[in-house]
Symmetry: D2
Subunit: 354 residues, 4 copies
Amino acid sequence: MSSAVQTAVVGVTGYAGAELARLLLNHPRLKGAPPVFAGRVDSKDEARGGIPLAEIHPQLAGSHTAGLKLESFSWELLASRGVQVLFLATPHEQSRQWVPEALDRGMRVIDLSGAWRLADGANRAIYNFDDEGTELADAIQSQAVYGLPELHREQIADARLVANPGCYATSIILALKPLIATGLVDLDHGIVADSKSGVSGAGKAPTAKTHFMYAADNLSAYGAFTHRHTGELLEQIALDKSQIVFTPHLLPIPRGILSTIYVRFNTEQTTENIAKIYRDFYAASPMVRLYNRTLPQIQFSVHTSYADIGFQLAPDSRRAVIVSCLDNLLKGASSQAVQNLNVMQGWGEAEGLQ
Amino acid sequence: MSSAVQTAVVGVTGYAGAELARLLLNHPRLKGAPPVFAGRVDSKDEARGGIPLAEIHPQLAGSHTAGLKLESFSWELLASRGVQVLFLATPHEQSRQWVPEALDRGMRVIDLSGAWRLADGANRAIYNFDDEGTELADAIQSQAVYGLPELHREQIADARLVANPGCYATSIILALKPLIATGLVDLDHGIVADSKSGVSGAGKAPTAKTHFMYAADNLSAYGAFTHRHTGELLEQIALDKSQIVFTPHLLPIPRGILSTIYVRFNTEQTTENIAKIYRDFYAASPMVRLYNRTLPQIQFSVHTSYADIGFQLAPDSRRAVIVSCLDNLLKGASSQAVQNLNVMQGWGEAEGLQ
Amino acid sequence: MSSAVQTAVVGVTGYAGAELARLLLNHPRLKGAPPVFAGRVDSKDEARGGIPLAEIHPQLAGSHTAGLKLESFSWELLASRGVQVLFLATPHEQSRQWVPEALDRGMRVIDLSGAWRLADGANRAIYNFDDEGTELADAIQSQAVYGLPELHREQIADARLVANPGCYATSIILALKPLIATGLVDLDHGIVADSKSGVSGAGKAPTAKTHFMYAADNLSAYGAFTHRHTGELLEQIALDKSQIVFTPHLLPIPRGILSTIYVRFNTEQTTENIAKIYRDFYAASPMVRLYNRTLPQIQFSVHTSYADIGFQLAPDSRRAVIVSCLDNLLKGASSQAVQNLNVMQGWGEAEGLQ
Amino acid sequence: MSSAVQTAVVGVTGYAGAELARLLLNHPRLKGAPPVFAGRVDSKDEARGGIPLAEIHPQLAGSHTAGLKLESFSWELLASRGVQVLFLATPHEQSRQWVPEALDRGMRVIDLSGAWRLADGANRAIYNFDDEGTELADAIQSQAVYGLPELHREQIADARLVANPGCYATSIILALKPLIATGLVDLDHGIVADSKSGVSGAGKAPTAKTHFMYAADNLSAYGAFTHRHTGELLEQIALDKSQIVFTPHLLPIPRGILSTIYVRFNTEQTTENIAKIYRDFYAASPMVRLYNRTLPQIQFSVHTSYADIGFQLAPDSRRAVIVSCLDNLLKGASSQAVQNLNVMQGWGEAEGLQ
């Protein structure tokens, strides 16, 4: 079991970056080893170093962050600090460019973008990466492990590159995987995943859709049949496109995702049976909380690092509604990244996350 | 074509009551004929007459409402004022008790409760009415017309008792009826209706679930497989229980419903084909707005009397997501009631509603 | 008394523009005479004509707006339509440039910007107008009437240029003027006006401060001692800068302003005395609602065209807290503009506003 | 310096109780010594023991809280567990009754209610305590220390009874005390404290005012001149009633307080001078964060244990606006209680709070 490790966070200025900084600064294994914080190279403001972290994220101000600054990114910076694990909270394209060099320099990488999540080129097409199909990109992709510890704990432990999952994808995959793995679900009938996310999922850039007047007192569906998290669902649950419909919605709240998922079973089921399948599947997963009798709600998941899952069986015993909740900035992004760090370092999976 | 008519609203103290009062007071056909406003008999506060309307609903204060008061309900009151059309914004049980007498006294009734919406006793069972199965109740029920003008315009015109639809039911029925009426939908495959409603739908009584701290920054599913609006869906769209799953959710907004509805078609469809079916079905329906190219959002439907409908066809041409929005207090309750009044009186269906 | 009049709205694409369009389209005196709608010249999107009004503001769609389009602004357009009254919902600078020509062409102008509200050059300095101090600008300014009908009804009736007040200024001036006009307030002691506004007051442009994540679940003060509405307070209430402190705050709601105002009296007062002063002052003002016993709240003012005012006297009879509420898009902008139109045309002041 | 200590929380079912439980369960000095959790005696639900903590507050569920239950309160329970420090998150009256016995049994008490905050009977009158004026109550009161460590650190260290301050009072006292202590403020001129609080401050009981439909999209003032936190201001800042006006408002957000405070100085001041006064006063206070150049906002204070203070000087150098923010459930209640625990135990004042 390894001891303290030097981390760095690139792209700390976003919403997930703030939460990642907070978690790492409070992590019991990293006391006394604060991350190196660096800005995004494509952002003039962020590239210039020297801004106090507490000025970027005033909520993080305090004696424990005094003196911490955003530094100007360079490979030399990371090398001079002996960075061992690099968190990239950067745009997809930037992650595509940087990961090869980071690996080459011997760092392990936890990438929070969508750059390396998809093994199948057809699914990746939606990102339209510049380096798609190059030998280097293929070689990197083949090393990438999908960073959902509940499914890939062992590969993550040894991974050099962990592709941290999408927030919607996490909420849907964790809800469906146990039932599909046991073969109960009628896949030909098809699955509906109706997801609702808070506005932080849309990023920090001011746009017409992140304007308060657009999002507040509103609900809107978007990206039906086309959202790019769909590829993660297909690959991680082994589905075909005809077997699932996924529709995201923009909720008038800052953070939190709730997915309502509709399945039909091949045979009649009991509540007890389904509950046991979930319990067994997640017996060794401290960051999944299973609900009995009631359904999860966003209010109990936000500001926690858990994914919450519950379900209700239809009176006909052949259909179920599954509800899954998480905080898109935590289990949907930064606490998932820390959970991956814990697994990679051989630490307790829940350390620093409760 | 009839001229001004004397109306009364019983149960004006609730959220839908306030909107109904506002609409009737501004209705061009009712200028100079303000409704009689009466309280609910089961409420001590409301039963006592004399409270100014502007004290109950301060937003309605103004020179046009000066002098209007909540009156103590009695049949004599209604008779002495020559009430011809009675709006009941009362609890289900109260509507069950009062409608027989109101009809007996020659009034036409528009009932906003769930008391008389369901023709099938099996569907009504969830309400557990005291008078279920009595001869009188059956006779009244047989006269009731489901108050969705887009489906039952002609019967409403002649009806003595109009059962104003549920808010969720309106949003789902209007979205599905055109497609199902034309036989395109694969009913054996099943339909999913995932609905989200603002908090006003839960009523004015302070409860744990209407507490700001419960509803705000939250989303919760409730009543999966059991919500009592389900019966309206089955009866109005001619579905069997196995053919639809309906899950309501509580949105952290004051008003508005968005339903996301998932269907599979028997054969491949085109966007143009589906669009034409909706256009044809609602050609004579001024209170339905059809969206092309984009999907409706709650922000554009609230504070209007419209139901907004749009859809997106899957790339495989066999599935579609339909999105339907309305204001639960207006098209989901009080403007629907006024629309029914317009139809009953032979006035323009949209009068007073734009 | 004049009959229907041809109006035009330039800058209809903003939040206040949408409300102004709605009010004018429903105004009983303007039935059959829809306004000419034109875009802002400085905006590529808006300058290009032909976009349906219902596409810009989907909430306005309906049979009554079918066919209405945004037109490309030109003086010829306005002339060819015989525009008599021009509403400018344009940026300050654009209003400075256009008003001279509009007046020259014989139109009466109601300008919703801050361009012509301030008579004193020192107060105007904060706007830094290009044409400041020119002979033309001075001549125009001398004709401008501050468009608060409750204070300047008679001048507005005859005005060719009405400068529609700022939203904060309206809420504070209406609350203070009656007390100050009667000489009760100890001006040397100073007045505090602590105002809170919904986000629509910050305009439609997406910025860091209008991002949902910034505004939601938040409250922030800004512009203490420097907000440009201060000049309106000084001029309309005849105060010196040392006599008032005004601090605006950004509320996490779409619309509505509440101002909490603190005054000290020269002598002891009674609640009855103060209430009578307000009643007398606003006896002929249909768009001001006075509260007794309770204080106004934003929830009862939004979506109405009223300013609501109430107060509470201190136990020592020498101090009072005055609370004033209005909808910043209505009484703070567009319904105030329509109220000015009513006064200018000699119509009932409340027509189309209840 | 003492080591781990056995704590108990009575009244853990409320909003502040949930946060207090979370803080104590994560406190580094209390690892392995979870508090005893007990319900309120006057609540049937809570008095019955055995409910898992994770059922009462689902957000707290996790392996670290497995097995923790709400227990039925009794003095024997506390004695059998060796409780040394008792947190009371109970109604005022219950705290009045229980504190004498708790002290008698040798426990130190941190009381979060208003029961023991006020030394002056005239200020306490608003609570109308049953035991007012009894010898016992006077004796207890004389031992009580007002639990604001920034003002009374040394007395708290030795206190047996700490009266945790009110949330509004904390936000105002911390902002004003440094300036008043140095004699800069013109007290005869009077101070205005305009405070705005999220809904959690109104408690968990469902009432008309905590209904989502009342609080959402709204702002309302209440309790001007009469709010019971006023006494705390008078006693802690040594003011007379004529010297301050305090008006609380209900904000449409779950948590957070922002107070905007208006003062006049006896002589001209500089920004640097005022800033230095604050820096000096809070040099040894880790839970106060001072803002330069910008003003605090609620968004950066909520979910932290800090009080944030900033100010802006008027151009005339004689007046200032001071803005103070905190989380009413943390620095306004439970983290303040833990901060007091830290001081009482001689631990680092910020331990477990960053």
